[in-house]
């Protein structure tokens, strides 16, 4: 028998008993902290059967972007003159840098909070502890189970966005509000510009002198029809347009109709990272607090209020603390080629990207912060689960 001290705390070790363990005990491996496949599979089932949670998760990760894109597809199909194509690089950037990571994070965190608290609040934790299975294994089984639900759903939503962005992309390139045919050579681009001096001179960037006598009617709209064939122009205007096109050719070639495959891959991984972080954070926090609602609210406040504030407010002497926030760290890992996270269009973001308004932080620092948060919340949640009275 194990002897316990007369004071508080866990039982004291009893060396004599270690050698007196009954035969057959060593064959029982349920004390192992590694969850079995069966435990993970039933955990997946337990989460998957939560109808409300799954509906919310599907709506947030798939439903909203799919609905948004469907409406755009329909509008463009029925009114192509006034409605732009549903896909394209710009739409991809809007969804991938703003909507998907934010809602994916919150939805994943909600799943994590559910996984971390419902056994306790619904009375199953006690049954599970009585099985003799390691409490650590019980906790760890929730991680792959939750991710097995969150990751595919986020991936499906993201795949829809990518597919529409590519297959419903505009047939022209929009450079400084000028619609330009894609794939032109330098000479072809210059010829195209020479035929359309007015929009080229008035809209494309040019690092040189433009005569003040040229009257610009304002930027053209979305429609291709807004770009009218150039009127017979004086040779000087045509030459100026060709010069501008020649100077802007590198900018033209840098613009894509739709996102590149490397960008889609890295952005997808980044969105999945965002969702995984949300899930682990929710799981740990809910396990620690023993409830779901409070942690969900805290995570929403953290993600949607605190993180944007901390991203753009450099607080003297506390910048190290600011950098340690998970939202900023993940934002720093955003692939270049996307506008900055938190819905600030026009700011070139990504790790180390030019013009980034985030508090400076290296990719290594950001990665360390992310790893620390994942490990820290996993340890905290597991510790609470192992020490909690059932």
């Amino acid at each position: 028998m194990t002897t316990m001290p007369a004071g508080r705390g866990a039982p004291a070790p009893d060396r004599a008993l270690q050698t007196a363990a009954p035969a057959g005990h060593s064959r029982d491996r349920r004390g192992s902290p590694i969850p079995t496949v069966g435990m993970i599979a039933t955990r997946v089932m337990e989460l998957r059967k939560r109808r409300g949670l799954m509906i919310a998760l599907i709506v947030a990760t798939i439903g909203f972007p799919a609905l948004f894109l469907l409406i755009r597809l329909l509008l463009h199909a029925f009114a192509p003159g006034t409605s732009p194509p549903a896909g394209g690089y710009d739409i991809f950037k809007v969804l991938v840098a703003g909507f998907l990571p934010t809602f994916g994070f919150i939805a994943a965190a909600t799943v994590g909070c559910t996984a971390g608290s419902r056994d306790l609040t619904e009375g199953m934790f006690r049954h599970l502890v009585v099985t003799g299975r390691s409490r650590l294994a019980l906790y760890l089984a929730r991680i792959p189970a939750g991710l097995a639900i969150v990751v595919p759903l986020v991936a499906i939503g993201y795949t829809i966005v990518c597919a529409v962005s590519v297959f419903a992309a505009p047939t022209f390139i929009i450079d400084s509000n000028v619609n330009i045919p894609p794939g032109l050579s330098r000479a072809g681009f210059e010829n195209w510009a020479g035929d359309r001096p007015e929009p080229v001179i008035c809209s494309l960037p040019y690092d040189g002198h433009i005569p003040g006598s040229i009257a610009c009617a304002g930027p053209p709209g979305w429609s291709k029809s807004a770009v009218t064939p150039g009127q017979p122009a004086p040779a000087a205007l045509e030459a100026l347009a060709i010069k501008i096109a020649s100077q802007d050719y590198s900018g033209y070639t840098a613009i894509s109709r739709y996102p590149s495959i490397p960008l889609m891959v890295t952005a997808g991984l980044w969105i999945e990272l965002e969702a995984a972080v949300g899930f682990i954070l929710g799981l740990g926090l809910a396990s620690l607090m023993g409830q779901r609602t409070g942690p969900v609210i805290l995570i929403i406040v953290l993600q949607m209020i605190l993180t944007p504030i901390l991203a753009f407010a450099a607080i003297p002497h506390l910048q190290g603390l600011q950098r340690s926030f998970i939202g900023l760290a993940v934002a720093h890992l955003e692939p270049s080629g996307l506008p900055m996270f938190f819905g600030l269009p026009g700011v070139t973001g990504g790790s180390g990207g030019p013009g980034a308004a985030l508090l400076p932080e290296s990719a290594i620092q950001a990665s360390c912060v992310v790893i620390a948060w994942l490990a820290g919340w996993t340890i905290l949640g597991a510790w609470r689960m192992m020490t909690r009275d059932a």
């Binding site: 028998m1 194990t2 002897t3 316990m4 001290p5 007369a6 004071g7 508080r8 705390g9 866990a10 039982p11 009893d14 008993l17 270690q18 007196a20 363990a21 009954p22 035969a23 057959g24 005990h25 029982d28 349920r30 004390g31 079995t36 069966g38 435990m39 599979a41 039933t42 955990r43 089932m45 337990e46 059967k49 939560r50 109808r51 419902r118 619904e122 009375g123 199953m124 006690r126 049954h127 599970l128 502890v129 009585v130 099985t131 003799g132 299975r133 390691s134 019980l138 009275d389 059932a390």
Partner: protein
């Protein structure tokens, strides 16, 4: 008490201990309260053992300590011969338990809840789900959501969960709460059949009549300590409640008894055929002989002396109320 393994005992006995549950000086404190106070408990293997106590006596807390749901502050304990908490995993591998009201994931079916629990046990536990549901009479509702279950059905599902490990020991905390008479009878029959298979059932309850019908031995707990324990037959053997006396002159017999030293110990009251003499707790059979001698020497014809055996309930009330009285 049965101290050996019966034929057909499930699994392999963990150790040679004759006790399924053994605690010494087990103590659990919550601040200033001590719901488990130096408990010395011995539950023999292969028996149905009742763990009785008034509300708040510390029954559930002791069970939670035994099962590792909360830590003990002092004392020693072993389950099925395994010292715990050191070997909780090994001990719990052969223990099924209901603690408090059995609660499950309400959005899952009964079968799915059992799958969740079986997955945390050994692989063979999954194969026991269907037989367990069958045994508790829940097979026809196994694929309905638990949210549609009555309290009694959840209790039965809890018992089914207890059967998943093919247990040598079942610890059931108030398993008959919320059950109708038919449900209580079903659980009682099941407990008896489990014991007949050589398993040990430790039953915590305040339904004394059910415990008396079901259990071989009991322990009475009050204020966190065990005040009596042993086989019910032995505990009640010396616990007479009353003696019914048929005699020739009941009135004179009553006065006669009051005038002797017996008068301070017993209380005689008129009854249909004579007297009913209430005896204090712990009174032995020698008092009956003493009553007979006093009446006969007083010239009263005694036709019949009928000892009335105390029920577990009356004995329990005597024992706990006596100890609960202020000194």
């Amino acid at each position: 008490m049965n101290t050996t393994t019966l034929p057909g005992t499930p699994g392999k006995l963990a150790a040679g201990s004759r006790w399924a549950v053994e605690t010494h000086g087990l103590t659990k404190r919550f601040g200033a309260k001590t719901p488990v106070n130096g408990v010395e408990l011995l539950v023999p293997r292969g028996s149905a053992f009742g763990y009785l106590g008034p509300n708040g006596a510390g029954k559930t807390t002791l069970i939670r300590v035994l099962l590792g749901l909360t830590h003990a502050d002092a004392g020693t304990m072993s389950l099925l011969g395994y010292p715990v908490p050191r070997h909780h995993a090994a001990a719990l591998a052969r223990i099924g338990a209901i603690v408090d009201e059995p609660r499950f994931h309400r959005h899952l079916t009964g079968r799915q809840n059992l799958r969740l629990l079986a997955a945390a046990r050994e692989p063979a536990a999954r194969d026991r789900i269907a037989p367990a549901l069958e045994r508790v009479g829940l097979a026809h509702r196994a694929d309905d959501r638990v949210s549609t279950y009555s309290m009694g059905m959840r209790q039965r599902l809890g018992v089914a969960a207890c059967l998943l490990p093919d247990p040598q020991l079942l610890i059931l905390d108030e398993p008959m709460n919320g059950l109708d008479p038919a449900g209580m009878a079903a659980i009682r029959e099941m407990i008896l059949s489990l014991v007949a298979e050589g398993r040990t059932v430790m039953l915590s309850s305040h339904l004394l009549d059910e415990v008396e019908r079901t259990c071989d031995a009991v322990a009475i707990v009050d204020h966190g300590s065990i005040i009596r324990q042993g086989p019910i037959s032995e505990l009640l053997a010396g616990a007479l409640l009353a003696v019914q006396v048929e005699c020739s002159e009941p009135g004179r017999a009553r006065a006669l008894l009051a005038g002797t030293t017996l008068g301070a110990r017993v209380e005689a009251a008129p009854a249909a055929l004579g007297l009913e003499i209430t005896l204090p707790a712990g009174t032995g059979h020698d008092v009956i002989a003493e009553i007979n001698r006093v009446l006969v020497e007083g010239g009263i014809s005694v036709y019949r002396l009928q000892p009335v055996q105390a029920s577990l309930e009356s004995w329990f009330l005597q024992v706990t109320s006596r100890l609960g009285d202020p000194e």
